[in-house]
Amino acid sequence: MIHNILHNYLFWVSMIIFVIGIFMLALDRNLIKKIIGLNIMDTAAYLFLGSLGYIQGLSAPIFTGKTMGQTGSELFINPIPSALVLTGIVVSVSVTALLLALTVRLYKKYNTLNLDEIIEAAGKEEDDD
């Protein structure tokens, strides 16, 4: 098991990065830092996915013309996780843009990025109505 932990260092490093992202997302009161935490979580997921596709001793999935009689599965690593990472990057860019736009609107209305102050001000607004 210890050998496995040492050998799988990419897996648990990506998991630690993921937890750091969750920590930022949950504990930081600044909205921009929350979005940064979400992006760190995304990055950890890409690292994990990309490392899952690796196969010992094989090369990147770009065909150069030299096969030397070997089939593709004897030459190239798994291309599917790479394709999934590409999908994930685009979705995370879209989510980040949406969250930043919402943050801009919140900042324009409440003049602060601190979530506590925003919640407090919004509660007061509701009380007034």
């Binding site: 098991m1 496995n4 932990i5 050998h7 799988n8 260092y9 897996f11 998991m15 630690i16 993921f18 937890v19 969750i22 920590f23 949950a26 504990l27 490392s51 596709g53 196969i55 010992q56 001793g57 990147a60 999935p61 770009i62 065909f63 150069t64 013309g65 089939t71 593709g72 599965s73 190239f76 798994n78 291309p79 599917i80 790479s82 394709a83 590409l86 999908t87 990057i89 979705v91 860019v93 879209s94 989510v95 843009a97 949406l98 930043l100 736009a101 919402l102 801009v104 609107r105 324009k108 409440y110 003049n111 602060t112 506590d116 102050e117 001000a121 007061k124 607004e125 007034d128 109505d129």
Partner: protein, 299 residues
């Protein structure tokens, strides 16, 4: 001698309390919809203590949760199959099929391009639409119709790059190189690492750099809001039509009216090249549009 104001006289004589009658003096009625004040008024002590206790509890709970999550994830990493193992569950029939037969199926020398734009092209269509939907949502959130100019044009920045010789001259040299590199990455997406998403981002970066150095008036001569909208919509419609054609021919996304050609040539790999160009256009326009929206509130 100047005669005192009636209220001042009252105050001097002592029968007018300044603080009590402030509202009476101004004649202002009690506000019903009180505007918010910043910084917010200080909370009473008990409420403050309650809030502090809540956040302490919240922090402790979050730390415990994160610790439990981290330990369980690391234990799961220890019992996972070895990194790079040939018999890992990810190395299954799908991988064997893709790795062994992609060249005959797609004709692209970049297997990832073959996977995302041929085997799983529908996935990529969804991705492009997610980007488009995000652009629309940002547009809805940041475009302020009521006063178009006032709220959107921010205060003048302290540093104006348009007057800086170094930045403008360097940008003049860099922009063509960046654009050519972006077009190269898009067009060689099926031959080498790259493709529509990365190349589109590079081209979008070139337009963003241009807008940042010379202002939006200059960049609008090339990529006006109208051209931006038309390009994005046309590229998405083109992609959707191509993919509906592939549904029409059996929905396995492999047969198309263009043959695969000789692998390694620019014009080969069937539909991957036009799809890459469409994706590149969508990504380029979306990146520039988002920068423009965040910077000045409209595309």
């Amino acid at each position: 001698m100047k005669k005192d104001h009636k209220l001042v006289r009252m105050w001097k004589e002592g029968d007018w309390d300044l603080y009590e009658n402030l509202n009476v003096y101004t004649g202002r009625p009690e506000k019903k919809n009180r505007k918010l004040s910043f910084p917010p008024a200080p909370m009473p002590e008990t409420a403050k203590a309650q809030t502090r206790a809540f956040y302490r509890l919240f922090t402790v709970l979050a730390v415990v949760l994160c610790a439990v999550l981290a330990s369980s994830l690391i234990i799961s990493a220890a019992v996972m199959p070895q990194f790079g193992a040939v018999d890992a569950p990810a190395v299954n029939q799908v991988y064997l099929r893709y790795a062994d037969r992609w060249l005959a199926d797609t004709g692209a020398t970049n297997i990832v391009a073959g996977v995302i734009l041929n085997y799983r092209a529908f996935d990529t269509l969804g991705e492009s639409h997610v980007l488009f939907a995000a652009l629309c949502a940002v547009m809805l959130l940041l475009t302020d119709c009521r006063d178009d100019r006032k709220s959107i044009t921010r205060h003048e920045p302290l540093f104006n790059p348009r007057k800086d010789v170094i930045i403008t001259q360097v940008v003049k040299i860099l922009i063509p190189l960046i654009l050519v590199f972006g077009i190269y990455v898009v067009l060689n997406g099926h031959l080498s690492p790259g493709g529509g998403f990365s190349g589109g981002t590079i081209m979008g970066a070139a337009f963003i750099l241009y807008a940042a150095a010379f202002g939006f008036e200059a960049s609008e001569r090339i990529l006006s809001p109208r051209v931006n909208k038309i390009l994005t919509a046309a590229a998405l419609i083109f992609y959707s039509l191509i993919k509906s054609y592939s549904f029409y021919t059996g929905a396995n996304h492999l047969e198309s009216f263009i043959t695969n050609g000789v692998p390694g040539r620019i014009v080969s790999a069937g539909l991957i090249l036009p799809l890459n160009i469409a994706v590149g256009l969508v990504v380029c326009c979306t990146m520039y549009g988002m920068y423009s929206l965040f910077k000045r509130g409209r595309t």
